[in-house]
């Protein structure tokens, strides 16, 4: 027993010693101790690679030839990139993908949110069911949609043919349909996300606003236009910001589904980037492309956030 008491006392003096040492520190010093590790981590995995990529984008460095002297070539990578017609093709394909996925997902997601928000029996059950695609791995989703899209045995082609009489549809293999194949899968997978955020917005609208409108004899359209839409818009725009940035960088689903094909019809910017960097090993050139993409997303994102803040206030 005395042994234990002694140990306890010793533990107390140790913690007292630490405490007194800490007590000597200023608030600023303690603040630095707390945020220091995070800042170091951020520097190591975010800031340094970014700066290093900027440096590499001005060189002819190739990662697969480590012995080769690295030469500073100024803005030549950028000139070649901006002068290349292929690059504009990839950017166009990316824009096409981002814009259409966002349009479909906003319309369907908002619609679903309005339906779920009616709180019918089993609403929470259906919410869970609707959320499932979002929780799956993109690799899994991409793989099983290749089966669904299979022209002879896939269910997609069968259903479309059954209702529209189109015959067998080669969604992935046809130049006209391949871009839509990835848009459909992304919409299937990520519409729940938009729905969830819209639902959060809808749930935040107090009933008395609708009651006041009812007394004012507002019709359904006015109620939507004057109350629902302004209240949900900040949430919706936030969802679009997150999904828009993600889709600008879309990679995994496309790799599983079309791998950029047929030809380069679905070769989105990040698919092309990966090819240039890790198949052709043009590290300097692809660094420059990465920087261009980064600046584009960053710029668009900033403009968007400004608009979002205006909508919020």
């Amino acid at each position: 027993m005395p042994d234990e008491a002694q140990r306890a006392r010793r533990a107390l003096t140790v913690s007292n010693r630490i405490a007194s040492k800490l007590r000597g520190l200023s608030d600023t010093a303690i603040a630095w101790i707390f945020i220091g590790p995070t800042i170091l981590l951020l520097l190591a995995i975010n800031i340094f690679p970014l700066l290093w990529t900027i440096y590499l984008s001005f060189t002819n460095y190739r990662a697969n030839q480590p012995g080769r002297p690295v030469r500073w070539i100024g803005t030549r990578n950028y000139e070649r990139l901006l002068g290349s017609e292929d690059i504009w093709g990839y950017l166009q394909a990316t824009a096409h993908f981002v814009i259409w996925t966002m349009i479909f997902q906003i319309v369907i997601g908002f619609g679903l949110a309005l339906l779920i928000n009616r709180n019918f029996r089993g609403a929470s059950f259906w919410t869970t069911i609707i959320l499932i695609p979002m929780m799956l791995s993109p690799a899994v989703v991409g793989t099983f949609w290749t089966y669904i899209y299979q022209p002879q045995t896939g269910i997609f082609s069968y259903i479309v043919d059954f209702f529209a009489g189109t015959g067998a549809l080669d969604m992935i293999g046809s130049v006209a349909l391949a871009p839509w194949s990835i848009i459909i899968v992304d919409t299937w997978m990520w519409t729940p996300y938009i729905m969830l955020l819209c639902l959060a917005g809808l749930r935040s609208i107090p009933d008395y606003l609708y009651e006041a409108a009812e007394i004012d004899r507002a019709n359904a359209l006015q109620r939507f236009w004057y109350i629902t839409l302004p209240r949900v818009l900040p949430f919706l725009m936030l969802a679009v910001l997150f999904r828009g940035i993600e889709n600008f960088k879309m990679f995994d689903l496309v790799v599983e589904l079309t791998s950029g094909g047929p030809g380069s019809t679905t070769e989105l910017a990040s698919i092309n980037l990966k090819r240039e960097a890790f198949e052709k090993w043009r590290t300097g050139y692809s660094s420059a492309f990465a920087i261009i993409l980064f600046v584009t997303i960053f710029g668009l994102g900033n403009i968007y956030v400004k608009v979002l803040n205006k909508v919020k206030s």
Binding site: Y208, E211, A212, E214, I215, P230
Partner: protein, 342 residues
């Protein structure tokens, strides 16, 4: 002509009885205040009149028409909510004009501008018409809410604690304005509050609610001087009326079946030349008036001190009770007599 009538209305929410066999009638041009604590059924009564709730049984009439089964839009009533129920992202003008643009009531642009202008001037927000409502202060937002009710001259105005979210100064200002506007427009208003001061100052008649039942409906003066029950007596007056067992403190000259006696704090004289021995327990100085908590024979009483008397806690004194103003209740807490009216 009756402004609005409730006839034997019942309303339950699951197990809870919100309104029980309630009947009341509001005259045209009358300002009726429903007073009661949280859960007394005030808001439910208002929502029943508005049509936001439908009664389980009973009848609702607005402007002599039976509207029991009609939706809010068909009743031509206006409702001011406790929270500012404004359309965000729109200007004050747009918000005020909204009810005038609703289907079935649509006015031309010129009349809308004129009407909105009048109301905005009346509520002293005329200079804010082009501001977004989100840029307004709380008081201004609530004035816009009230304005939205006023623009369209409805049969009946329903107000659910419209001033409770405002600070004391603004509340006082708007209270005075509201009464003035009601007189100017000859409006019929049913107004819900738990603030007895609002009830006393605004009402033509006060309806006191207790657990879904109407205890008393009378002019403020009658409700104050001849409360129907102990509960009603306790709703009006600050500090609350003192309730003492009859027979104590020399309160013996009441009706024979009196069980308890109510004495308003202003009817107790502290520092009297003769009377009961008392001890001052606490003193609350409120600026314009001073309230003392005193103890006599183990009974604690609130008393309003006369101007010029200064007392301190712990001091001993004598008190005199003006028993001619006492209010007498029987053993069921019902009024059986009061000094004010004999």
């Amino acid at each position: 002509m009756a402004g609005a009538v409730l006839e034997n209305v019942f309303k339950t929410f699951g197990e809870t009885v919100a309104v029980e066999n309630l009947s009341l009638s509001v005259d045209h041009g009358e300002f009726l205040v429903l007073l009661g604590p949280t859960g007394a059924g005030k808001t439910t009564t208002l929502r029943l009149l508005a049509g936001l709730e439908l009664p389980d049984s009973g009848k609702v009439l607005v402007a002599d028409a039976d509207v029991t089964a009609l939706p809010p839009a068909a009743r031509d009533v206006a409702f001011v909510f406790q929270q500012y129920s404004l359309y965000p992202h729109y200007t004050v003008f747009e918000n005020l004009a909204f009810p005038l643009r609703a289907p079935g009531r649509r006015l031309d642009a010129e009349s809308i501008r004129k009407r909105v202008g009048e109301i905005a001037e009346m509520l002293r927000i005329g200079h804010k018409l082009n501001d977004k409502v989100t840029q307004l202060s709380g008081g201004e937002m609530q004035r816009v809410s009230i304005g939205r009710a006023l623009v369209r001259k409805p049969n009946l105005f329903l107000m659910d604690e419209p001033l409770s979210s405002l600070d004391a100064k603004l509340r006082e200002d708007l209270r005075v304005e509201l009464k003035r506007i009601q007189r100017d427009l000859d409006a019929t208003i049913v107004y819900v509050t738990h603030d007895q001061l609002e009830a006393m100052t605004l009402a033509d008649r006060i309806g006191i609610l207790q657990e879904g039942r109407l205890v008393q409906i009378d002019t403020p003066r009658v409700a104050y001087e001849r409360p129907a029950t102990v509960y009603a007596a306790q709703r009006l007056g600050s500090p609350q009326i003192n309730i003492v067992d009859t027979g104590k403190l020399g309160l013996e000259d009441g009706p024979p079946n009196a069980a308890t006696t109510g004495i308003r704090p202003e009817d107790i004289t502290v520092d009297a030349d003769q009377g009961e021995e008392a001890e001052i327990v606490a003193v609350e100085h409120r600026g314009d008036e001073t309230i003392a908590l005193i103890e006599v024979d183990g009974i604690r009483l609130h008393a309003l001190l006369d101007a010029g008397i200064s007392m301190e806690a712990g001091q001993r004194t004598r008190i005199a009770i003006r028993s001619e103003y006492a209010i007498w209740f029987d053993s069921q807490s019902r009024l059986i007599g009061s000094g004010a009216t004999g």
